[in-house]
């Protein structure tokens, strides 16, 4: 039987579970547009959980974090990605060659692995969110899996951003977030990264006439 938990902790757990569920839907989603929408939803859940932690723990800097997340991850990044897709004319793109059941099973294995890994660490933490570290790790690993399994440039970038979401969640759940300077630096790097990704999309398209990364296999060990 479980110990009684207060409402905030329960809400956080629900949000964390939602994050995990979104990660799995991303793994199973073939259409790129919907992937971006899911990414934005992940941002929404992150914002909500950060705000909740900020209110509970009375931490000023987490409010800024939440605002930053809302702007960057819910609005800016998906907007840039969708715009890019429209400019590149690949709005209806999908990744048909994905064996989803196998991917899901591997993902399940990763979740178990992540939970096992997180267990000893969670027991040391003192934050209200400590138990969600396992979920954060699972989200990171699932995003990693998505990057490995997908072969479209855009999908890989989405995987990359989902991984960053997981990292952010890990930071809030174990330590109430990193110091503000570091967080700003990370956000800036991420933003620049997305811009460079955008530049790349155009470069790749110009040279390869496609954003399918199967074509990027000329450089092999030889």
């Amino acid at each position: 039987m479980m110990p009684p938990l207060n409402l905030v902790t329960q809400l956080l757990h629900v949000l964390a579970a939602g994050l995990l569920m979104i990660s799995f839907s991303m793994l199973a989603q073939r259409r790129t547009r919907r992937l971006i929408v899911l990414l934005a939803w992940q941002g929404v859940v992150l914002t909500a959980s950060t705000l909740l932690v900020a209110v509970t723990a009375h931490l000023q800097h987490l409010y800024y974090s939440a605002a930053l997340t809302l702007i960057e991850k819910v609005w800016l990044m998906p907007w840039i990605l969708l715009r890019l897709m429209r400019r590149l004319g690949i709005e209806g793109d999908s990744d048909p060659l994905v064996n989803i059941p196998t991917l899901m099973l591997v993902g399940l294995g990763l979740v178990i692995f992540a939970f096992g890994l997180a267990q000893p660490i969670s027991s040391l933490a003192t934050t209200v969110t400590r138990q969600t570290l396992g979920i954060a790790m699972a989200v990171i690993l699932l995003a990693f899996l998505m990057m490995i399994a997908r072969h479209k440039a855009v999908t890989q970038v989405i995987g990359f951003l989902a991984m960053e979401n997981g990292l952010f969640f890990a930071a809030t759940s174990t330590t109430y977030g990193m110091p503000m300077v570091v967080e700003l630096g990370i956000a800036l790097d991420l933003l620049v990264g997305v811009f460079i990704f955008g530049i790349f999309f155009f470069q790749i398209r110009e040279q390869f006439d496609s954003l399918d990364l199967h074509q990027l296999e000329a450089l092999k060990e030889d």
Binding site: I121, L124, P179, G193, F200, A218
Partner: protein
């Protein structure tokens, strides 16, 4: 104050070159800015020699003998590469591979890259270290794809994605580190991320968390070091980017990533009270060395060849840091120095060699001595130096690594020896026909700037024959800091 100059000069240079980088004189401006950085770094070195370690700007930056040595090395190679890139990029422009617009990007990003590396080296904040490493990656990604060919875009994409994932893992490691430290040092005022504070309490950090954090940090930063099996990006990025970028990637970025790994290892060893972190470094290092040595045989592209050679040497350095102890650390630091100098010299020579031949394929490059004796000799001597032929400094450091390995870990010695022998044979057989032999290639339109090559090689030669006592003392100090 000196540190502000060291960091501020390239940052300012990046902004200036972003504006004026398209002009014909931008290359000279690039050299001047790099020289200014070098002078500032020299002043910083003198200050540290005089006063010992220091922290500045609310402890956000921290300079000790270990990193000031790398700062000086970075500034030096940054300067010589800028000198080299002036005629090199001009030739590329004449060949029509680049236009003024791309050159502006190149010059500006070059300085930004230098600034990011110098911040990474001098920061005391593990979070800022991460940010700076990521910034260094981002600034070089567009440089690797500067030529906008299929191969270069592929290489840059691979570089971006692989290093991006690696660096994300490193961020997770940093988060865990912060988590472990926050319990001891408190979350306010960011002391829990400052390396000096972490180092002071490392014995009390929770070993489980730090162990896990170290794994993530090692894999993350190790990707940037080019440790196998995460090395795939390295040969591609080296082969497809412009040669000055290959030179700074190999000579500097790998060192900076190595520096990050070593900083983390110091904490991990302190917290875990065990040799496990060292063992992990040794395993990664040895595996990279052996794998790269055998892969050298299969290379047909001159810059890829030396890219793999970089993996091999970073493997040796990682192995040496893994063994630990004053002698191995001394050897590793020396090897970092001589490898950076030699490898950048080789890339300079190889860059000109492929410009002369009009191809990077080893089969296509022949008879360099007849066309341009300086390029030919530069490549030959550089290759001999990197292979550890006796009078050069690489021999000294590899010898020290080997005898330490023989004393402490005899099982590893035969593996290392085999790897070195294989690498020697592979590179020697490939370089020899390129330097000698017949050719009908033409001379280059601009005289190649090979002064940097011979400056680097003579420093390496000097380090092989005689290490000045001041320098040796300094290495010893740094080696003892690493522990």
């Amino acid at each position: 104050m000196e540190l502000a100059w060291v960091l501020g000069t390239p940052l300012f240079g990046a902004i200036v070159l972003a504006v004026f980088g398209a002009r014909r004189s931008a290359a000279e401006l690039n050299v001047v800015i790099s020289l200014a950085t070098l002078i500032a770094a020299a002043a910083l070195v003198l200050r540290i020699i005089g006063q010992g370690s220091m922290t500045v700007a609310h402890e956000q930056f921290f300079v000790d003998p270990f990193n000031v040595f790398l700062i000086a090395l970075t500034a030096l190679i940054g300067f010589t590469t800028a000198v080299f890139s002036r005629p090199y990029m001009r030739i590329e422009q004449d060949h029509g591979r680049l236009n003024a617009h791309r050159l502006r990007l190149y010059h500006s990003m070059y300085q930004l890259f230098m600034a990011a590396m110098l911040v990474a080296l001098s920061t005391n904040n593990m979070g800022l270290l991460w940010v700076a490493m990521e910034a260094a990656t981002l600034s070089t990604v567009l440089l690797v794809s500067l030529y906008r060919t299929r191969a270069s875009i592929e290489a840059a994409w691979k570089y971006f994605i692989l290093c991006g994932v690696g660096i994300a893992l490193a961020l997770f490691g940093t988060i865990l580190l912060y988590f472990a430290a926050e319990r001891l040092l408190g979350g306010e005022g960011m002391r829990a991320l400052l390396w000096t504070h972490l180092n002071a309490v490392k014995g009390q950090l929770d070993p489980t968390v730090i162990g896990l954090a170290f794994v993530f940090l090692l894999v993350g930063y190790g990707t940037k070091v080019g440790l196998a099996p995460l090395h795939n990006w390295l040969p591609d990025a080296h082969a497809e980017g412009p040669t000055p970028v290959s030179a700074v990637l190999s000579g500097l970025l790998l060192n900076v990533a190595m520096y990050a790994v070593v900083r983390c290892k110091i904490l991990a060893v302190g917290a875990m009270h065990s040799a496990l972190p060292g063992r992990m470094l040794m395993a990664f290092g040895l595996f990279s060395t052996v794998l790269a040595a055998f892969l050298l045989w299969r290379q047909r592209d001159i810059k890829r060849l030396f890219g793999y050679s970089s993996i091999e040497h970073m493997g040796i350095i990682t192995f040496a840091f893994g063994m630990g102890g004053p002698l191995a650390n001394f050897a590793a630091l020396l090897h970092m120095t001589v490898h950076s100098l030699t490898k950048s010299a080789i890339f300079f020579a190889a860059g000109h060699a492929s410009q002369i031949a009009g191809t990077q394929r080893i089969d296509g490059i022949r008879g360099l001595l007849t066309v341009s004796p300086t390029v030919g000799w530069g490549l030959m001597l550089g290759s001999l130096a990197i292979l550890g032929t006796p009078p050069f400094g690489v021999f000294t450091s590899e010898y020290m690594v080997l005898i330490t390995a023989m004393r402490d870990h005899p099982w590893a010695t035969p593996l290392l020896l085999v790897a070195l022998a294989v690498a020697f044979a592979a590179i020697f057989f490939k370089v020899q026909p390129m330097v000698f032999g017949e050719t009908d290639a033409q001379r280059l339109p601009h005289p190649p700037a090979l002064v940097p090559v011979f400056v680097h090689l003579s420093i390496v030669l000097m380090l092989g024959l005689y290490i000045p006592p001041a320098l040796a003392q300094w290495y010893r100090l740094a080696a003892s800091l690493i522990g």
